[in-house]
Subunit: 111 residues, 2 copies
Amino acid sequence: MGVNTDALRGHMDALLLSVLEHEPLHGYAIIEALQARSGGALSVPTGTVYPALRRLEQAGYLAGEWATVGGRKRRTYRLTAAGRTALAGERSAWREFAGVIGSVLEPRATK
Amino acid sequence: MGVNTDALRGHMDALLLSVLEHEPLHGYAIIEALQARSGGALSVPTGTVYPALRRLEQAGYLAGEWATVGGRKRRTYRLTAAGRTALAGERSAWREFAGVIGSVLEPRATK
DNA sequence: GTCTACCTATAGGCACTCTACATGTAGAGA
DNA sequence: TCTCTACATGTAGAGTGCCTATAGGTAGAC
């Protein structure tokens, strides 16, 4: 149980954008959301998430904003318009990717 | 059209083992087989395949043997018993991986 | 006063794929 | 004969991006 997160290389952006689709979240909450949505299989370390969020922000896909809640500082991210477009692209890229790998790994018996 | 092969990171072993499941092949033929099985979407460069084959051989999953066909030298690889076990593991790992990513990217509307 | 949960962040390492290059045979066609 | 394409293997060096480990800090419970 638990996905080898090294295999996530190249798909992390899709996951992060996806989890922010319907509501802005801060980094810590994003990690929890990923874990919840995956049924506990995804434990993405903070050292992966925080740099990735900054990268996506610099790319213009996310907008971050500092907030203080209960004395704790949070950086909350929301999807930009460009981020929504990117998410759509990531989704279709994932579908193609999964189809291709699947067709190689488990080819139809029709040979 | 055509998968970004950089996203293959971590899945290449599965692809190579899978394509060798039913018949031994040499490197060049493996590349062609991958392309054929994927409907042309996968163009894996030689600089990726040859080192990967050696890595898998060293890991004990493949056994390589030199042959000369029509004056050309080929190194033909076949799956070992350990390779078959590894392939089974790669397959189930892929299914879990695809399921997890899918569940995050396109969660059921039941919320 | 210590422990756990909450929260963000950087440094350095490392695995794996990429691009580009290097080398060579065989056969078709001009 | 020369050249081009397909066949065939391989290395060097770069780059990406995820990892582990470490760091720092607040709030609340016990």
